[in-house]
C-alpha cells in the first residue's frame, strides 16, 4: 500500500527539482491558493465533524437517527463529482432555486448577477465538501459507537441530570474520537486537495492549489509539469502542516475536557436549540442532495428550458438516446474496473483479517497509518509519479492499470468497512467448528464467510462506490484511454452542457446504488428462513 504511494511521491518530486520551485515562488497566486486550501480544509472538516457529532449527540437513539442511518448508504455512494454537479445546478443564479422563486417572488426575468458559485471565498466549495463528508463521518461514528458503550454512558449521564449533548461530549466523545481520528485526518486531507469538487464549485481566481496543480499538469507550455510537481510538493507540506495543527487542537481539547467535566454544569438548556439545529442542518443537507439529484435527472430529459421557467417546456429522451452508446461503453468499463479492484481488495482484506485471526496478530497503529496513507496523501502529490511507473511497466492506459490504481484507494475503505464486523464475529463459532473436526479453511469458507455475507457485501458495495467515484487516479492511470462515467462527467462539466452532464451524473449515481441495492437484497433473500441471521 505504501509502496505505490512512496514511489509515486518520488516520481513526482524529481521533475520539481528542475527549477519548478523557483517558478512556483514567482507565481503571484501562490499565497491565495495556499490560503484557500487551508480555509476550505479546516472549514469543511470542522463543519462536517461538528455536524456529524451533533447529529449523533442530539439524535442518537431517536427515530430521526434511524432515518439518518437509512439515508447514509445512498449519499455515501454518490461520487464527489456528481454531488458537486448537482449542487451547481441547484445554486447557480440561473439554477433551480432561483427558477423556482422567479419571477413571481423575485421579479427576476433574467438570472441575478450573484456570485453563488465559484465564489472567491470558497463557500460553495466548502458546502460541496460538507454534503459528502458528513455522511462519511457519520458512518465512521456508527461503526465506532458500539465499542464505546455509548448507550449506557449516555443513559448514565441522563440519570445524573446532564443534557444529551453535554453528556455526549463529556463521556462518549473521549472514547469515540480516538477511533475517529484517522477518518477525520483523511477528510481534512481530502478537503484540502480535492480536485473535481474544486474544479466544479471552487473559486478560479486563483483556484485552490490542488486544482491549480492539475491545471499546470495540463499546461501546454510543457514548463507546467515542473511547476505542477513543485505545487504538489508544497501541497503535501501544507497538508502535513494542517494535520499537525489539527493534532495540536485535539490535544488542547483533551486538556480542556476534564475541566469542563468537573465544572458540574449540566448543559440542559443546550439540548433543545441544538436538536433543532441538528434537524434543520441534517434535513437541509438531505433536501439539498435530493434536489441536486432530481435536478441532474430532470436536466438529462429536458427539452428547451429557459430561465425563469421552473420546469422544462417538454421532456425528451434525445439526450439519452444520442449518448446511449457512449454511456453504455463507459458504464461497462466503469463496472469492470470497479469489480476487478473490489474483488482484489476483498481478497486481500479477507486474507489479512483471516491471517490476523489464525495467527493471533495484533496490527498496531503503524499498520493503520499505512492503510490510510493513500487517503491522507494528496493525490496530486503521488499520482503523476505512479503514472510514470505504470508507463514504464508497460501498463499505461489499460483497464488493468486503472483497476490496480483504484485498488490503492478501494482497499482502505473495504478494510474500514469489513474489519469491525469481521473481528466482532464470535470466535467461539470457530472453536465449535474446530472441535467438530473442521480445519481452519473449512471454518472460514463454510462458517465465517457465509455468516459475514452481509458485511462482506456492504464492503463490496462501498468498494464499488469508491472505485466508481475516482477521478484523478482514473485519468492518470488510464492515460485518457480509459473512460469511466466519472472522468466523462468531469470532462463534460468543463463544457457546461447540462443535459449531458445530467445523464452522466445520474449514471454515476445509479451504478453504485445498484451495489447497495444488491447488498440489501441478497442477504434478505438468502437468509429469508434464518431468523438468527437478521440484524
Amino acid at each position: 500500500m505504501a509502496l505505490p504511494v512512496l514511489a509515486g511521491l518520488l516520481g513526482t518530486l524529481i521533475p520539481a527539482l528542475d527549477g519548478g520551485f523557483d517558478r512556483l515562488a514567482e507565481w503571484p497566486g501562490l499565497r491565495g491558493a495556499m490560503g484557500l486550501s487551508l480555509v476550505t480544509g479546516f472549514a469543511s472538516t470542522g463543519v462536517s465533524l461538528a455536524l456529524a457529532l451533533l447529529l449523533t449527540a442530539a439524535l442518537y437513539g431517536t427515530p430521526a437517527f434511524v432515518r439518518v442511518q437509512r439515508l447514509l448508504a445512498p449519499v455515501l455512494s454518490l461520487p464527489h463529482a456528481a454531488a458537486a454537479l448537482g449542487l451547481a445546478f441547484l445554486l447557480a443564479p440561473s439554477g433551480w432555486i432561483a427558477r423556482a422563486i422567479s419571477p413571481w417572488a423575485t421579479g427576476w426575468t433574467v438570472p441575478p448577477d450573484l456570485l453563488t458559485l465559484n465564489d472567491t471565498g470558497g463557500v460553495a466549495l466548502i458546502l460541496g465538501l460538507v454534503v459528502k463528508e458528513v455522511p462519511f463521518l457519520l458512518l465512521m461514528i456508527l461503526s465506532a459507537l458500539p465499542q464505546t458503550d455509548a448507550a449506557r454512558r449516555m443513559m448514565l449521564c441522563r440519570t445524573l441530570g446532564y443534557g444529551r449533548v453535554r453528556g455526549f461530549a463529556l463521556t462518549v466523545l473521549p472514547a469515540l474520537y480516538p477511533q475517529l481520528r484517522l477518518p477525520v485526518y483523511a477528510v481534512l486531507a481530502y478537503a484540502m486537495t480535492s480536485v473535481e469538487t474544486a474544479l466544479i464549485l471552487g473559486p478560479t481566481l486563483p483556484p485552490s492549489l490542488s486544482a491549480q496543480v492539475v491545471l499546470w499538469m495540463n499546461a501546454p507550455d510543457l514548463q507546467g509539469r515542473g511547476l505542477a510537481a513543485a505545487g504538489a510538493v508544497v501541497q503535501l507540506v501544507l497538508v502535513i502542516g494542517a494535520l499537525l495543527v489539527w493534532r495540536a487542537g485535539e490535544i488542547l481539547c483533551r486538556i480542556a475536557l476534564p475541566a469542563l467535566a468537573q465544572s458540574g454544569r449540566r448543559g440542559l438548556w443546550l439540548d433543545q436549540p441544538l436538536a433543532i439545529l441538528a434537524r434543520v442542518m441534517g434535513g437541509g443537507l438531505a433536501l439539498a442532495m435530493a434536489a441536486a439529484l432530481a435536478g441532474l435527472a430532470l436536466w438529462s430529459v429536458a427539452g428547451p428550458w429557459q430561465f425563469p421557467d421552473a420546469l422544462p417546456d417538454r421532456l425528451t429522451l434525445s439526450t439519452w438516446s444520442r449518448a446511449l452508446p457512449d454511456l453504455r461503453d463507459s458504464a461497462v468499463v466503469t463496472l469492470a474496473i470497479a469489480a476487478l479492484s473490489t474483488l482484489a481488495a476483498l481478497a486481500l482484506v479477507l486474507g489479512c483479517l483471516e491471517a490476523e485471526h489464525r495467527f493471533a496478530l495484533h496490527p498496531g497503529a503503524g499498520a493503520m497509518w499505512l492503510l490510510y496513507l493513500p487517503l491522507v496523501m494528496p493525490q496530486v502529490a503521488f499520482l503523476p509519479g505512479v503514472q510514470m511507473l505504470a508507463l514504464q511497466a508497460g501498463l499505461g492506459g489499460t483497464v488493468l492499470a486503472v483497476a490496480l490504481m483504484h485498488l490503492v484507494f478501494v482497499l482502505p475503505y473495504v478494510f474500514l468497512s469489513l474489519s469491525a464486523p469481521f473481528r466482532a464475529w464470535d470466535t467461539r463459532i470457530a472453536a465449535a467448528g474446530a472441535t467438530l473436526g473442521a480445519a481452519p479453511a473449512r471454518v472460514f469458507w463454510r462458517l465465517r464467510l457465509p455468516m459475514l455475507m452481509a458485511p462482506v457485501l456492504t464492503a463490496a458495495a462501498v468498494g464499488m462506490a469508491v472505485s466508481i467515484g475516482q477521478y484523478l487516479p482514473t485519468l492518470m492511470a488510464g492515460g485518457g484511454r480509459v473512460e469511466t462515467v466519472t472522468t466523462a462527467a468531469v470532462a463534460l462539466a468543463s463544457g457546461g452542457n447540462r443535459r449531458l452532464i445530467g445523464a452522466y451524473g445520474l449514471l454515476q449515481i445509479v451504478l453504485p446504488a445498484l451495489g447497495f441495492v444488491l447488498e440489501l437484497a441478497l442477504p434478505a433473500l438468502v437468509w429469508r428462513n434464518r431468523r438468527g441471521m437478521r440484524a
Partner: protein, 403 residues
C-alpha cells in the same frame, strides 16, 4: 486579383503540384494497406456532443471505407494529450504510444513541434491535400504565424463571431470600444472565458487588434523592449471593462461551452464563439433561444484553422494518416459545414472540387443565425504564438489571482 480568380489559379497550381504526387500513389497504397485493421486513438476535446457525434460519424466512415477503427479519446483539454505524449517520451516510450492523432493548433502545436514530439512532415503528402485552399486561406499552413511545414493537417476553419440575444440587445456593438460602452450601459451582462483558456485569450487578442496603435507587430514574436508600452492599452481597456462584467469579474466561465451555457441561461446577453455556425446549430438543437443572432466587428475578427497532428511515437501512424486524409475529403468537409451538424467552415478550395462535390456545399443552408461569408467580414491573422502565451500569463498575474 479577385478571390475567385486567385482560387482558380491555385487550383491549377495544385493540379500541377499533384503530378509528382502521382509517383507517391504507390506509397499511399502501402499506407492504406498498413492502416487496414488498425485502431486510431484520436485525442480530441470532448466537451461538445455535436463534435463528439461528428467524430463518431467520421469513425464509421473510416471503418467502412478503410477498415480503420477510430476511437475518440475525449479530453477536457488538448493539453492532456500533449502531457501524455511528453510523459511517454520521458518514460522512454518511443514507439507504441497511446496517442495516434491529436486535434491541435496554436501553442500546443508550437510546443510539440519545438520539442520534436510530432511525426512528419506528412500533411502535404496526403492525396486530398491538393484540394486544400492554401492560397485563399493562408491559415491552413500558418498556425499562429508558425509555418506548419506539413507537421499538422488542417480540418476546419474558425472565425470569432459574437452571439447576442436579439430579444434583449437591439443593436449589438461592432467594435471593441463599442463593446466596452455597451457593457458600461448594461453591467453584468457580458463576460469572457478565463485566460489561459483558448477562447478567452482569443478575446484578449481581439481587443489588442482594436486598441493597439500598430497591430502589425503582432505578426512578429513579442519584443521585450517595447512589449509593455504596446500592450498598455489592453490593460487600460480591461481595467475599465471588468467592473461591468458578469459577477463584476469575480468569476469567469472556464471555456467556450461554459460561456455558451451562460447565454443559454440568459445570465449574459452577449457571448462569442470561434465557430460562426455554433449559434444556429444550438438553436436547431433547442439549447439556445431562436432569437440569438451573430455579428462580427467592423474591422474584422480573428480567424484560424484547426488541425490534426500525429505524435512521434504513435502506434497507428498509417491509420492516423488515413483518418487525416479522410477528414479532408469533400464529403466529410461538407458534413462539418452543415449548420445542423457542426457549422465549421471548410478548409477546401471549392473551385478545385468536382461539380458533384461542390454541389454538396451549395446545398447547405446557412442557418438562422449564421452570417454569410460576405457578412462575416475579413478574418484577422492570429498573432505569433508568443503573444498568446505572454498576455495569458500577464492576465493571470493581473486578474487571475484577485484574492
Amino acid at each position: 486579383m479577385d478571390r475567385r480568380r486567385f482560387g482558380q489559379l491555385t487550383a491549377l497550381f495544385a493540379l500541377g503540384a499533384s503530378l509528382p504526387r502521382m509517383a507517391l500513389a504507390g506509397e499511399w497504397e502501402a499506407v492504406l494497406a498498413e492502416a487496414q485493421g488498425q485502431t486510431v486513438y484520436w485525442h480530441a476535446w470532448g466537451g461538445d456532443p455535436k463534435i463528439n457525434d461528428f467524430i463518431a460519424w467520421v469513425g464509421e466512415q473510416a471503418q467502412a471505407q478503410y477498415g480503420v477503427t477510430l476511437e475518440h479519446v475525449k479530453l477536457a483539454s488538448t493539453a492532456d494529450a500533449v502531457a501524455q505524449v511528453l510523459a511517454e517520451r520521458d518514460a522512454g516510450k518511443t514507439t507504441g504510444g497511446a496517442v495516434d492523432l491529436i486535434w491541435i493548433n496554436g501553442e500546443n502545436f508550437a510546443a510539440m513541434k519545438a520539442a520534436g514530439l510530432l511525426h512528419g512532415p506528412f500533411a502535404e503528402n496526403l492525396p486530398n491535400w491538393p484540394l486544400v485552399d492554401v492560397a485563399g486561406k493562408p491559415a491552413v499552413v500558418t498556425d499562429f504565424t508558425l509555418p506548419t511545414e506539413g507537421f499538422e493537417s488542417p480540418w476546419a476553419m474558425a472565425q470569432l463571431v459574437f452571439e447576442y440575444d436579439s430579444a434583449r440587445v437591439a443593436t449589438p456593438p461592432r467594435s471593441v470600444t463599442a463593446l466596452a460602452d455597451w457593457a458600461a450601459a448594461n453591467p453584468g451582462r457580458f463576460t469572457y472565458p478565463q485566460p489561459p483558456d483558448y477562447l478567452g485569450t482569443t478575446f484578449l487578442k481581439q481587443v489588442l487588434y482594436g486598441v493597439m496603435a500598430d497591430p502589425s507587430v503582432l505578426q512578429a514574436p513579442v519584443d521585450e523592449a517595447s512589449y509593455a508600452a504596446q500592450v498598455a492599452p489592453l490593460w487600460a481597456y480591461l481595467d475599465a471593462l471588468h467592473p461591468n462584467l458578469w459577477r463584476a469579474a469575480q468569476a469567469f466561465p472556464q471555456n467556450e461551452p461554459a460561456l455558451g451555457q451562460l447565454l443559454a441561461d440568459a445570465e449574459v446577453d452577449i457571448a462569442f464563439a470561434f465557430n460562426p455556425g455554433r449559434a444556429s446549430a444550438e438553436i436547431a438543437a433547442g439549447t439556445l433561444p431562436d432569437t440569438v443572432r451573430t455579428v462580427t466587428f467592423d474591422g474584422g475578427t480573428i480567424g484560424n484553422a484547426s488541425f490534426v497532428a500525429i505524435p512521434f511515437n504513435a502506434t497507428a501512424r498509417a491509420g492516423a494518416q488515413v483518418v487525416a486524409n479522410l477528414i479532408l475529403s469533400p464529403a466529410v468537409q461538407a458534413r462539418a459545414q452543415d449548420p445542423a451538424v457542426l457549422g465549421f467552415q471548410t478548409v477546401l478550395n471549392l473551385a478545385a472540387l468536382t461539380p458533384e462535390d461542390r454541389a454538396r456545399f451549395d446545398a447547405l443552408s446557412l442557418g438562422v443565425a449564421t452570417l454569410s461569408p460576405a457578412e462575416l467580414g475579413p478574418a484577422l491573422l492570429e498573432p505569433h504564438a508568443s503573444w498568446m502565451t505572454r498576455i495569458a500569463a500577464d492576465w493571470v498575474a493581473r486578474y487571475g489571482v484577485a484574492q
